[in-house]
């Protein structure tokens, strides 16, 4: 038997067979498998549903990690409230301290106009904030590992009593790490789901083809070409896997869409869900399922055909 020839049962021809309509009803040569078919559709749907959640989790945690780390980068400040005559001197002291503290990349004094803008919402536009003794704000960017906040606080206390180190958002740092980890877990789940679906569809395709050894023999004996037989099986399985996955994906997307929405301004949660073009990502799930079905059935069909002349 010529093995090379079977291998050349080429992908292009199979894909074409997959896309072309089937006016002759060639697909009917594959017996309906009842419960196997239903289980395949169900399993593909369930896997796709899970995949939607894993995808949403990966995307959402990615957004969360990004947003939190952006906020972290901006939110260490030193606030100086001092009598007007000491202000400039204390500011200079603080800048000097910050410059000599290891782990600080940059310290930048916000111009008074910006500080006023920050304060305005608290007092309303009618209060002439410029006559108030407004504090000075120095924005601190960390370098590398960051700095030792306790040591800095003590030093500032000693040298510039009006300075307060405000790093209250640094507690989010472990959360950022957790979000990053969660995202990796989401992606790993996605891979596992894809691998499991592949294994499952391969098993189902193999079982179905093994159960249809008789059909394949009869078809070969009456002069059916390999491509005709393989296409009939591949069509059946690819469509089944893709259809099941499409159902699961749609249900998963509806479930995500129906999640109660989180008020953006209210909290640090960005919510589990897709945003904008992100809604297109799940479309890949049925396509991937179809591809897995295609590859799995093709290899099972080749193995069966190899056994008959």
């Amino acid at each position: 038997m010529k093995h090379g020839e079977l291998k050349s049962l080429d992908l292009a021809a199979l894909w074409q067979g997959l896309r072309r309509p089937d006016p002759m009803g060639t697909d009917r040569v594959v017996p309906p498998t009842g419960i196997t078919a239903q289980l395949t559709v169900f399993a593909a749907a369930a896997m796709a549903f899970l995949a939607v959640f894993a995808l949403a989790l990966a995307l959402a945690t990615g957004r969360l990690a990004e947003r939190w780390s952006n906020e972290l980068a901006q939110t260490v400040t030193v606030r100086i409230s001092a009598p007007t005559e000491q202000m400039d001197q204390q500011t200079a002291t603080v800048m000097e301290v910050l410059r000599t503290t290891p782990g600080i990349a940059d310290a930048k004094q916000l111009p008074d106009s910006e500080v006023e803008k920050l304060l305005e919402p608290w007092f309303g536009p009618d209060v002439p904030v410029e006559v108030l003794p407004i504090p000075r704000l120095i924005e601190v960017s960390e370098a590398g590992e960051g700095f030792d906040a306790e040591a800095l606080r003590l030093r500032l206390q000693g040298e510039a009593p009006g300075a307060v180190l405000d790093d209250h958002t640094r507690w989010r740092e472990p959360l950022v790490r957790a979000a990053g980890r969660l995202r990796v877990l989401g992606l790993v789940s996605l891979l596992l789901i894809a691998a499991t679906s592949g294994a499952m569809i391969t098993l189902a395709a193999k079982a179905a083809l093994a159960a249809n050894g008789q059909v394949i023999r009869v078809l070969r004996l009456i002069g059916a070409r390999d491509i005709t037989i393989a296409t009939a099986f591949v069509r059946r399985f690819t469509r089944r896997a893709a259809a099941g996955a499409a159902i699961g994906t749609v249900l998963g997307m509806i479930a995500i869409w129906a999640l109660p929405s989180v008020d953006e301004a209210g909290g640090f949660l960005t919510g589990l869900g897709f945003q904008g073009w992100g809604w297109l990502w799940p479309v890949l799930i049925p396509l991937a399922a179809g591809l897995i079905g295609f590859v799995a059935t093709r290899s099972a069909a080749l193995r069966m055909l190899r056994e008959v002349r």
Binding site: K2, R28, V29, G223, A224, D226, I229
Partner: protein
């Protein structure tokens, strides 16, 4: 059309079952193939449609050495040779009529429902066209297999003991069908060990009788 040149065959590594056979089947010829049970009739026929390949010697079908044929070439050969197997197999989930049309379906050609109906009439299975194959009797299966074998109007029909399950009357009817087919200048190769059937046939058609004996192929004389 079919030509064997010093062909030998044996299953696996065993002793050859068929040895040094030479034969030429011409279009429009009618041959019977006889021999004791287990002598290798079915094996001989399977060599003719490339279900088995010769161990040595050559098997030429329609001008091509079957050992050299690609898998698609084998499929093409089988569309030119209609076969009624000793134990015909069908797709059990499809009605008899669709099974008869199967060679046309898998060849991708249009299925002519008039032809199917004529064929069902021809083998007297009209009322069974919608039934599933497992509900057919042995004889009905063989007639359905005959209808399936001729639907592509092959150049040669090979029948492996098609009358094995039939009473005399139905055997004669099936013989008639094959003779009718043969009269359209098509070749028939008919394996049977029913000598009465061969005698009956010889009165109506110019038939030659091949016999497998002692691994060899012989042309049987007038002793039948």
């Amino acid at each position: 059309m079919i030509e064997m040149q010093n062909l030998s065959f044996g299953y696996g590594a065993s002793e050859p079952l068929l040895a040094d056979m030479s034969l030429s089947l011409q279009p429009g010829s009618f041959h019977f193939l006889t021999g004791p049970s287990g002598s290798g009739k079915t094996t001989f026929l399977r060599l003719c449609y490339a279900d088995l390949l010769p161990r040595s010697g050559r098997m030429i079908a329609f001008g091509q050495d079957v050992s050299q044929l690609s898998r698609d070439g084998i499929a093409a050969l089988r569309r030119k040779v209609g076969v009624v197997h000793q134990d015909p197999q069908f797709l059990d989930h499809m009605p008899v009529a669709d099974n008869i049309a199967l060679p046309q379906i898998v060849a991708g050609g249009p299925v002519d429902t008039d032809v199917i109906r004529d064929l069902l009439d021809w083998v007297q299975l009209r009322q069974h066209g919608g039934a599933l194959p497992p509900s057919l009797s042995g004889g009905e299966r063989q007639r359905a297999a005959l209808a399936r074998a001729v639907i592509m109007t092959p150049e040669l029909v090979i029948a492996d003991e098609p009358t094995g399950n039939l009473d005399w009357e139905m055997s004669m009817r099936l013989l008639d069908l094959l003779i009718e087919f043969n009269q359209a200048d098509k070749a028939v190769l008919f394996a049977t060990h029913d000598l009465n059937l061969i005698r009956a046939a010889k009165q109506r058609v110019q038939a030659r009788v091949l016999r497998i004996a002692g691994k060899r192929l012989q042309l049987a004389g007038a002793d039948l």
